[in-house]
Point group: C2
Chain length 235, copies 2
DNA sequence: ACTATCTTCCATAGAACATTGGAGGATAGC
DNA sequence: GCTATCCTCCAATGTTCTATGGAAGATAGT
């Protein structure tokens, strides 16, 4: 009544183990964080190590694991090594893993709320589709009634941002609120759905008496939706 | 120049570790095989253990891991425990993981070919979209010029199959080739893109002097595409 | 109640993983 | 050629994971 194929199960086991090799790479928080950072743009080992708060040796080892799993690859750039995601499908995989975990595991949702600390100030959001519709054909420049604010570290902004977005890293925002026009709605975005920057930014704006609206998703999802991306400095 | 947010990194680490908990569950070949089986329909521990060729204790332990990771859940049915996927998003995650691994890792592609052994006989395929178009509005019954053959174990056929499909498990196929009409094209499918049954079936048909065409994907992808599913016995 | 079946819990031995310091390779600039 | 920078490889640590028997819990039928 059940299937019984012992003889060629060697090849079968090898195949599933091969898939598991890639799965295993997703089984470590530091590695997921590295993937999340790499989804924002290519980076060298040292910068990644500092960003995740781990030693260079450890980070390098993790990157080797990701590389062997086929999730990232590297190229040399002078004295340093630049890592990047193997493709957009890897970003999709990361996003889906997080969504599935969040959907089916209370513990994840709890950790998510502890980190993002959603509250009244950060409650209103706009969706990417909504924003695209609002910007209309003129996606290259902020529409008059809407300023798009990128609060990621400058480095990530330079590596690709929503066309027309203004860059003010979240740790400079409190001091630079006045740089923002006060006659337009401010839509804030950061790395993605699970990044705390936009939440923090909206709170900072609220403290300064300004209202910011959080984009429900971030750059990761923007890229996955294949919307146009602008590179380099503009603000 | 780089971001430096040590203070609230506890919550951040907790969140990424929470995601990693789900990723970790995908890091074992036996567990991936269990997910693959569960994507075909709910099953009890004993059947799963026999299908993956592992002990009941081991299988139960793996199922606990999958459960804690939010990927499956269980309900009691009399004396036995039925496990099932937490949702279609889990099947999506499994499919995407395999596709990413296959796309970016030569080792996986090699293992895949060792297991599926694609050759001249199994070369021609049809896509699901193609089949749906061919069956047209009359998806409930095989169109006259096309027989859809399900070669999975009967149990899985009963738990859901392509409407109108005929069930002949692959290990009975050699003896039952004559059950198939010889005036219609035979489209063979099994569990999914990485299941060997349809490959084997096409070879068996070729040995019997009949031509079968493999459906490029299987039941997993059929369900993910949200095509209608028929339950119970029909053949 | 008693028994049979199915499953989970517990304890354990062996394998694999994460992290770290130090050695060694590769590249750029002097 | 020499030095500085950045990264990877190696070895050693403690921790976690995998697989497996045997005991114990839960349910159905007699």
């Amino acid at each position: 009544m059940d299937d019984l194929r012992a003889p060629l199960s060697d090849a079968k086991i090898a195949l599933y183990d091969a898939f598991a090799g890639t799965g295993k790479a997703l089984g470590n928080g530091t590695r997921l964080e590295l993937l999340d950072l790499l989804a924002q743009g290519d980076r060298n080992v040292d910068a990644l190590a500092r960003a995740v708060g781990a030693g260079v040796t450890t980070t390098s080892a993790h990157l080797q694991v990701l590389k062997r799993a086929g999730l990232v690859n590297s190229r040399r750039d002078g004295v340093q090594m630049l890592y990047r995601l193997s493709g957009p499908d890897v970003a999709h995989l990361l996003a889906l893993l997080r969504r599935v975990a969040d959907a089916h595991r209370a513990e994840v949702t709890r950790a998510r709320n502890d980190y993002l600390r959603p509250d009244a100030a950060t409650h209103g959001t706009r969706s990417i589709d909504d924003l695209v519709r609002d910007l209309g054909g003129d996606i290259e420049a902020s529409a008059p009634h809407c300023t798009v604010l990128d609060v990621r570290p400058r480095e990530e902004y330079l590596a690709g941002h929503i066309p027309g977005a203004v860059s003010i890293p979240v740790d400079e925002l409190a001091a630079r609120v006045s740089d923002l026009p006060d006659d337009a709605e401010v839509v804030v975005y950061c790395r993605g759905e699970y990044c705390a920057f936009a939440y923090d930014a909206v709170r900072i704006l609220a403290d300064a008496g300004r209202r910011g609206v959080r984009l429900a998703d971030g750059m990761l999802e923007w890229r996955l939706a294949e919307h146009p991306v602008e590179f380099g400095a503009a603000s």
